[in-house]
């Protein structure tokens, strides 16, 4: 990239907020996947206006812009393929918490947990709870439509987005939606940007819907199973029950083996898998509901089913669940997290598919995830330096997606397509639908400046990724 561009960016943002030392390029080249690639320059805007100005420079010189929150993404979405890495972390102000209207207005770089905390301090509740909440940004959550365990009951990030401020590639500042929970005034452009992975516009401000806090009593149902068929049945039965829990998480035996040091006493050693459910209710009702749900699990064939209401015992259970996603990487250095999602009735069959793939491809495949949403995270733990293993891993990934699609499912429930899943898009999305997505993209970003090389299978720049350490 020419020095002219860096100079122009510096004159817009100030010299401290435009970085191009090799150390800065390396450290803004990755997210939480195993792919990385260097940007040419890293910029840190502090306002919507500065984002606009960065885009003006990008347009003038035809340089692509890769928006980044905290880089916790699991699909390579914020990995820059050269160009400008635009980092949103300085735009981290909570602009307003409106208690009367149950909403919050924040800049896109606010860390999710900071918002959760600020809202809680006002006696309110922001439900989306991605496992990465202490690190991820609201902008990244919106761009990936992030979920979490509680999405089972409360829905994903998108359900809480009332309005957005978005800077388009041509510099237009769009305001979508508003302050109301109901809004049919024209097209729902807010939803268009939710889950758009930084390819349609740069989100600068988000208006979020809040809820009153949930009922104060918290219980946790822990059930374990001797076989995955019974576990699958229990998921269906719990999801369909009137007393259904707030979250419905599953972990298989391979995961349990990894986090054995976290294993709570409620889960006996050697089971095929376990379900963890959170129940929020009024104190009077909690025990009754836990007993009800225990019964549902037993009927489905659970070996153990225990409703836990002791605070520290529950903390132990959820600490295991939180640690799980990254902790599985203790075995081997490379962790490939898939995000295949199937309709819930297909879960038992899909779990059986995964066991088969594990054996067939001889890969270390473990499964956990938001079972209540049919959103499983098959994770493959491998070593990227082992070429033979990586070939088998690639084959296993292909199998996983083929199985998910065959079961009526989809590629991603919450991590997005990014770089890593682009090649499966043609199989997952009908040609006409994909063509409509492309038309939308070229309408809003005609020169393909925003996050090029992502989401769509055969972007012009896809060749570039071969130059870096990408998949």
């Amino acid at each position: 990239m020419s020095e002219t561009i860096a100079r122009e960016l510096r004159s817009v943002l100030g010299p401290d907020h435009v970085l191009s030392s090799p150390a800065d390029l390396v450290t803004y080249g990755y997210d939480a996947t195993y792919v990385s690639h260097l940007p040419d320059v890293v910029v840190f805007p502090n306002s919507t206006e500065q984002v606009r100005q960065v885009l003006a420079v990008a347009r003038a010189h035809h340089v692509p812009v890769f928006t980044r929150g905290s880089g916790t993404g699991l699909s390579g979405g914020s990995v820059p393929l050269g160009g400008i890495a635009l980092v949103m972390t300085r735009m981290n102000r909570i602009l307003e918490i409106d208690r009367d209207n149950l909403l919050a207005r924040v800049q896109a770089g606010v860390v999710t947990a900071d918002l959760q905390e600020a809202v809680r301090a006002q006696g309110l509740f922001y439900p989306p709870d991605p496992g990465s909440a202490r690190i991820s940004t609201i902008g990244g959550n919106v761009a990936e439509n992030a979920g979490g365990p509680r999405s089972f009951h409360y829905g994903t990030t998108g359900r809480y987005v009332l309005g957005l401020e978005v800077v388009l590639a041509d510099g237009t500042v769009l305001k979508t939606g508003g302050k109301t929970t109901k809004n049919v005034t024209g097209y729902d452009l807010t939803s268009l940007f939710v889950g758009s992975e930084g390819t349609l516009g740069i989100v600068t401000e988000v208006t979020l819907r809040l809820l009153p806090p949930p009922p104060p009593a918290r219980g946790t149902l822990v059930a374990s199973f001797a076989d995955l068929a019974a576990l699958g049945r229990a998921i269906g039965a719990l999801a369909a029950h009137p007393a259904r829990p707030t979250s419905l998480e599953m972990i298989d035996r391979h995961c349990l083996a990894v986090v054995d040091d976290y294993r709570p006493p409620e889960i006996p050693a050697g089971v095929a898998g376990a379900l963890l459910c959170e129940v929020l209710d009024w104190p009077e009702a909690l025990q009754r509901r836990l007993r009800e749900l225990e019964e549902v699990c037993r009927e489905a064939g659970a070996v153990t089913a225990a409703g836990v209401s002791d605070v520290s015992a529950q903390r132990r259970v959820w600490a295991m669940r939180e640690a799980l996603s990254p902790a599985v990487a203790r075995i081997k250095p490379t962790k490939i997290s898939e995000d295949a999602t199937v309709p819930i009735a297909a879960i038992p069959a899909f779990l059986a598919d995964l066991e088969e793939i594990r054996a067939l491809r001889r890969v270390n495949l473990l499964v956990f995830g938001h079972a209540g949403d049919g959103n499983l995270h098959p994770n493959i733990i491998c070593d990227e330096r082992d070429a033979d293993e990586m070939r088998r891993v690639q084959a296993a990934i292909d199998d996983i997606f083929a199985a998910a699609l065959a079961r009526g499912g989809t590629l991603s429930g919450e991590h997005g397509i990014g770089l890593l899943k682009r090649r499966y898009m043609t199989r997952a999305v009908p040609a006409e639908t994909l063509a409509a997505m492309r038309r939308l993209k070229s309408l809003l970003d005609p020169h393909n400046l925003l996050n090029p090389g992502k989401v769509f299978p055969d972007e012009a720049r896809s060749q570039r990724q071969k130059g870096g350490r990408t998949a």
Partner: protein, 470 residues
């Protein structure tokens, strides 16, 4: 990216162990919220994830030390909070130390590094010289010329900052550092600490083994009263306390500043002094400085397996204990018959030593022993006890960043209103807290003490008045 330097192959070989460990990092970012430098500087390269990826890139020849890697590693506090936060158990300390050794190797001839090494070897590791240097520098800072010099020094590039001068920033300016005691500082002080009747202070439940006291360099030179109090507490708890002559600085500072050779020399001298290489080693060696204890626990690896030195170092590590953990384990309770007399409790904030927390895993014991004192309300800082920015001699080498870390720290300490006393568990933290109290305008309002010193003082005071001080 820079082409690999000619000697790159050797660098890569020396960094191999760091590289292997770095490949275990999955860039999940879970360590980011735990990292004080990421919190104040806001850049990935100043986060654990960034530093690990930089070491990896350096090892693979994708970036050179001068291209920002050195700066990123220099600015790490080495507090190791990232290790506790990491769900993959990436051993960041190993990566950092290996990389720092390599940096020191590259910089061996730079005047700043030479001076730093000399200061660490010949001043900082010697209690009496350190105390003298501290007094002289404190006097210098108070003079007009000294202040001018310091202001000028603030503009020198960090790696060039002569540690000897800027160290003065960390010193308690008004009070001046305590005057060194004559002849082996700690030892002579300790003689007087064993006053008759002291045993009445504590109820002793079991027969106790012998305990050897590790007196340290900064502790003995700057805060001899902490060693005195530690010995008094141990004696009062029924231990036979010995203070082996010939013990020296633990070498942690040298280790962390890329001088492992000298750290090993010092360890060897300590193994001899404490009788681990010959003679009869004590059943336990008690430490009151978290930084020293952590290094003794980790130092084992400086000797190759199978050597007598290694065996001795392992034995020392196994017997090295934190004072609070020792007191707790031996079931003492303060027997001072305190009545609160309706007065509000003394508000204490315990600011733990990072290495005591993240390397030794000693988190509960200090809180428990403090909470055993009647009339004391003990809290952790609002940030849960993140690094104060002292970090060995970090505050001397990187005063600007250290001051920003400290500013956040003081806000976290005073979040529930300024406490009466800040209790720490390391001499470096003690110095930094003194600086923090001044920086926050709380001088005269907030006292700083180390844990044994505080307990000893508190019990003695309340013995006198039959009610808690405050």
């Amino acid at each position: 990216m820079s082409a690999a330097a000619p000697h790159y192959g050797e660098t890569a070989a020396r960094l191999a162990v760091a590289h292997t460990e770095a490949t275990r990092c999955i860039h999940c970012g879970f360590c980011l919220p735990a990292c004080p430098t990421y919190q104040v500087l806001g850049l990935e390269k100043h986060s654990p994830r960034g530093r690990i990826q930089l070491v990896k890139a350096w090892t693979e020849g994708r970036v050179a030390p001068g291209e920002g890697v050195a700066e990123a590693l220099d600015l790490c506090l080495g507090c190791r909070a990232c290790e506790t936060a990491c769900p993959v158990d990436v051993r960041y300390g190993l990566i950092l130390e290996t990389a720092r050794d390599e940096l020191a190797h590259h910089r061996a001839r730079q005047p700043g590094q030479v001076l730093l090494k000399a200061v660490l070897r010949h001043v900082a590791a010697h209690p009496r010289r350190l105390a003298l240097a501290a007094r002289l520098t404190a006097r210098l800072v108070q003079s007009a010329a000294g202040r001018q010099l310091l202001r000028a020094a603030a503009h020198w590039p960090d790696s060039w900052l002569p540690a000897a001068l800027t160290f003065a920033r960390a010193l308690p300016a008004q009070s001046g550092p305590p005057a060194p005691t004559s002849r082996p500082a700690a030892v002579s002080g300790l003689e007087s600490a064993a006053r008759p009747g002291e045993h009445n202070t504590w109820v002793v439940k079991h027969a106790k083994p012998r305990a050897a006291l590790f007196t340290g360099c900064a502790q003995a030179g700057l805060f001899p009263q902490v060693n005195e109090a530690t010995a008094a507490l141990l004696r009062a708890a029924g231990f036979d306390v010995l203070v082996p002559a010939g013990q020296v600085c633990c070498g942690a500072l040298h280790r962390h500043q890329g001088d492992p050779g000298h750290a090993r020399t010092l360890l060897l001298r300590n193994l001899r002094a404490f009788g681990f290489l010959s003679g009869e080693p004590p059943e336990m060696v008690v430490f009151n400085a978290g930084g020293c204890l952590a290094w003794i626990h980790e130092a084992v690896g400086v000797f190759p397996p199978g050597t007598p030195e290694r065996a001795a170092a392992e034995q020392l590590a196994a017997r090295a204990k934190d004072i609070a953990a020792v007191l707790l384990e031996h079931g003492w309770t303060p027997a001072c018959g305190l009545q609160n007399g309706g007065r509000r409790p003394l508000r204490v904030v315990y600011q733990p030593s990072c290495h005591l927390t993240h390397v030794c895993g000693v988190t509960e014991a200090p809180l428990k022993v403090l909470r055993a004192l009647p009339g004391v309300a003990v809290a952790l800082p609002a940030d849960g006890g993140a690094c104060c920015g002292s970090a060995g001699i970090y505050n001397a080498l990187h005063p600007q960043v250290s001051a920003r870390v400290l500013e956040r720290k003081m806000a976290a300490i005073a979040a529930g209103g300024p406490p009466d006393v800040i209790v720490t568990s390391n001499p470096g933290c003690h110095l930094q807290m003194l600086a923090g109290v001044r920086q926050a305008g709380l001088a005269g309002q907030v006292t700083v003490k180390q844990l044994p010193e505080f307990i000893h003082w508190y019990v003695a005071q309340s013995q006198k008045t039959k009610s808690p001080p405050g």
